[in-house]
Amino acid sequence: MVSKKQRVRILLFLFLFIPALWATVPILWMVLSSFKTMEDIFRVPVRLLPDPFYWKAYPEAWGQRNFGLYFLNSCIIALSITIGNLLICSLAAFSLAKYKFLGRNLLFLLILSTLMLPLEVTMVPLFLVVKTLRWQNTFLGVIAPFLADPFGVFLMRQYMLDLPNELIEAARIDGMDEIGIFFKIVLPLVQPALTALAIFIFRESWNMYIWPLIIITTENLRPVTLGIALFMSNYGTDWNQLLAIATIAMVPMVVLFLSLQRYFVQGIVLSGIKG
């Protein structure tokens, strides 16, 4: 005899199975199809597994465009923005959380208010600002506007408020200077928040598309997102090659997510609650 509790469990399992399939089957389908030949992709009725197993779409796609360079560019852009944010946001957060100075609350409010200005709203004037600086088609132009995410400041400040002031006082009495306190006392203590922020920013900047689309027109600075978009818009690109490249671009993010899930979700939840 099945108890009521077990019946509920079985029912929940069945209900959750459908959204789980809806979320994952499209992704698995893409990966599986990237190992199919073109005839296999167009076969009716469709088959689940590739037959024959064809892995050459990967090297073929890789050779079609400068994907090695695009991946390198994406790494440079995403890592610079991530490291920049970790440093710049934590510094601002430290200042807001642990010092008392004239205009502190006003500055915090101004920083938070920029959360309400998404890129979709500011893209035209932001482009003109970067153009005026003559930073079009430079890494600086892609990176600089995103070096201080207001959400990052908010997140780090929340964590730093919880640090005991006595700890900082004691270090100061011991003769440590402010920079030493920041790097040697504060940063090690907020490491979980730093990890969550790093993942959040890395995901956003690795996946970034609109801004490079606007600001980058030269081949040698293109990130992988733009490379794929161009590859996709080319008439006559083979499906299996396109899927192969998309799979390569997807894998680092999915692996990062599966291994650091807790921090991933933490960043997402807090980014929702910031508003």
Binding site: Y209, I228, M232, F257
Partner: protein, 290 residues
């Protein structure tokens, strides 16, 4: 609270530490927004000097058929996607939390679409929607004829709404889950003593506690749906016949394809105001219902 350091020697450091953030936000957020205000009053075209034309741009927008269509498309997209997202994300959170053991695994699987780059999502769904794609194969298998999802105006917007729901539901599921897990077990125990069942428990205990989070989800989901850009741009480029040209995509094209920077700035300001109005209405509605 203890008195913090008032020594000006130390305060100099405080200003120094916050300076980079302030400078970056000033140059890349505040100046552009102010510039948008000015540009929206000009006929700037990127090549000649901007000339002030008053509120001409804003007046023109109300007679501009393509902009009005973009507004209609955006509203269709928002209404079509956010309501299923609210219901679905709350249901998913409730079910996975109720399940306890195993619920986390389901959440992990369901969450994966959120981490994918928009470009990857676009490739993926173009492949699923095309003539011989999985979606049409399933239709064929069930005895229906295949549908030209992305090339027919009425199905293209549906196809994009489906992707919107696919990407947003897991995101809000996680936020609801955090809210649900914060409700102390004692609340439910007390309810059970008063004789609640699953339905009354949801309406009398869970929902009232979740209200602030629900409000947050509503506001964020509407704003996220209003600023959708990448998926329509990559999948249909606003087509066919403008059927999927949402406001941000229309702004992009006006500014960067037709170089009408003044007009694009006016649209940006309108979009910003629409977002503000939406969040304001929602906050008001919810605080009155209390």
């Amino acid at each position: 609270m203890r008195k913090l350091h008032v020594s000006s020697r130390i305060n100099r450091w405080a200003y120094l530490f916050i300076l980079p953030t302030v400078l970056i936000l000033l140059v890349f957020r505040f100046i552009p927004m102010t510039a948008a205000g000015y540009l929206s009053l000009t006929n700037y075209d990127l090549f000649s000097r901007p000339k002030l034309i008053g509120i001409r741009n804003f007046i023109d927008l109300f007679h501009d058929a393509s902009f009005l269509q973009a507004v209609r498309v955006s509203f269709t997209y928002v209404i079509g996607s956010v309501i299923p997202v609210w219901i679905l994300s709350l249901l998913l959170a409730l079910m996975t939390v109720k399940l306890r053991r195993g619920g986390g695994v389901f959440r992990t699987l369901i969450f994966i679409p959120v981490v994918l780059a928009p470009v990857v999502v676009a490739v993926l769904w173009r492949f699923l929607y095309f003539e011989y794609g999985l979606v049409n194969e399933i239709l064929r298998f069930l005895g229906f004829s295949p549908v030209p999802w992305l090339t027919h105006p009425s199905t293209a917007i549906l196809a994009l709404i489906q992707i919107g729901i696919w990407r947003a539901s897991p995101y809000f599921m996680v936020i609801f889950t955090a809210g649900l897990q914060a409700i102390p077990e004692e609340f439910y125990e007390a309810g059970r003593m008063d004789g609640t069942n699953a339905v009354t428990e949801f309406f009398y205990i869970t929902l009232p506690i979740l209200k602030p989070i629900f409000l947050l989800v509503i506001v964020i989901s509407v704003i996220t749906a209003l600023k959708v850009f990448e998926i329509p741009q990559l999948m249909t480029d606003g087509g066919p016949a403008g059927a999927t040209e949402v406001i941000p995509l229309h702004i992009y094209k006006t500014g960067f394809v037709y170089f009408k920077m003044g007009r694009a700035a006016a649209m940006s300001i309108l979009l910003f105001l629409i977002m503000m109005v939406f969040s304001w209405i929602q906050v008001r509605l919810f605080s009155e219902n209390r």
